[in-house]
Subunit: 232 residues, 2 copies
């Protein structure tokens, strides 16, 4: 399953912020709303966003200052500024910091959407330092997590579902080591509770079934802690 793009929205007007957040959510973005620059910067640092929408006029820490701080940490992330007035000076400062776009309130929500799409589509982040490894070997299996294919030495192969795939990948990346339940749940299910935990058990069972071809491989449970993929 494809995950939505994540937007950090920093807007001090709670009514407007709420409405805008809902509108973007309806249009399939995961939106995190902060009500001022300080909270905005904290949220920015706590997770990965694909785009930031910043109100310029805000108490405590205005949008331009926040933008500067964000730019120090991340040179790539697209920034869109919102402002009530069409203050030329602010606009110029914004572009200088590296704004990608600029909207004057009141603005048309459809146009904001179009801008967001345009910005997010134009480059699938050329600058991705971290190489995503997606080919693994363990036991008598080859595992391609990009194509979601698990292949046994005899040529048999299974198409993995997204969840199976993610879970197996995490197990393999922690081969012979503990994969803590919580970590896997929060990463794959984005929440750790009774139900997601049950669901994870179902998927562990599915993976065990795949892996039983190579009977030296085991997914061991560590009671109350998590699982461990190992070769005996």
């Amino acid at each position: 399953m494809k995950s939505n793009k994540r937007i950090l929205l920093v807007e001090d007007d709670p009514n407007f912020g709420r409405i805008l957040k809902d509108y973007l959510t309806i249009n399939n973005y995961d939106v995190s709303l902060a009500v001022n620059g300080i909270e905005g910067f904290e949220k920015f640092n706590r997770s990965d966003f694909d785009l930031c929408i910043l109100d310029i006029m805000m108490p405590f820490k205005d949008g331009l200052t926040l933008a500067k701080e964000i730019r120090e940490v991340n040179e790539e992330i697209p920034l869109i500024f919102l402002t009530a007035k069409n203050l030329k000076d602010d606009v110029l400062k914004g572009y200088k910091i590296g704004a990608d776009d600029y909207l004057t309130k009141p603005f048309d929500s459809e146009i904001l959407l179009a801008k967001i799409k345009s910005i997010l589509n134009r480059k699938p982040n050329v600058n991705n330092d971290e190489v995503d490894i997606f080919e693994f070997k363990f036991g008598d299996f080859n595992f391609n997590s990009k194509l979601r294919i698990l292949e046994y030495k005899d040529g048999d192969s299974y198409k993995l579902s997204p969840k199976e795939n993610q879970l197996l990948k995490m197990l393999v990346l922690n081969f012979d080591d503990l994969l803590p339940r919580d970590i896997a749940l929060n990463k794959i299910w984005r929440d750790a509770n009774y139900f997601t935990s049950r669901s994870m058990d179902v998927y562990i069972a599915k993976l065990r079934k795949y892996l039983e071809k190579d009977n030296s491989l085991k997914i061991i449970n560590v009671h109350g802690e998590g699982f461990r993929l190992m070769k005996e």
Copy 2:
């Protein structure tokens, strides 16, 4: 020495065009001015530009039509639209074609400059001088994506429509690897939503029909991710 960035300016008002050209020239851009869409397209094809500024309202061929033509030839070049009116419909059409920005006349020249800088800076010249490959062989097919011809070894050949052609080209460029749905949709349809996705499926079906002559070739779906052209 660093050479100036080259801008194609298409503007039918000769006075305004002249002034804008001079202003940009003073600010170290090499500007080529065309007075309508037809001349604009000719100039565009005659040399390499880094950015286009297009007036929307023009006689003979308007800016949006011109933009579409430019996009068919060059998917990367940034486009900035100018318009006298703030016509929402035009704005949205513009973004759909792949506009990078949008300015309503009268606008502030400094702001235009700032936008230009912002746009030109954000790709630290990924300057893809890379030759566009357009001749491919895969399975028992020869495929010329410039002529949009798919030819089977027995001499049979199909004329591909633009969309068929683009899609097949992306599949071939990712031969045996995943072509993510989103990437293809955003590149070919310039938007990823339910309808464009359905449309893409229709085109996948068409391509499968062409390819079934060589039954070792398959377009495999990776559920929720995309497609993979492979030879088994």
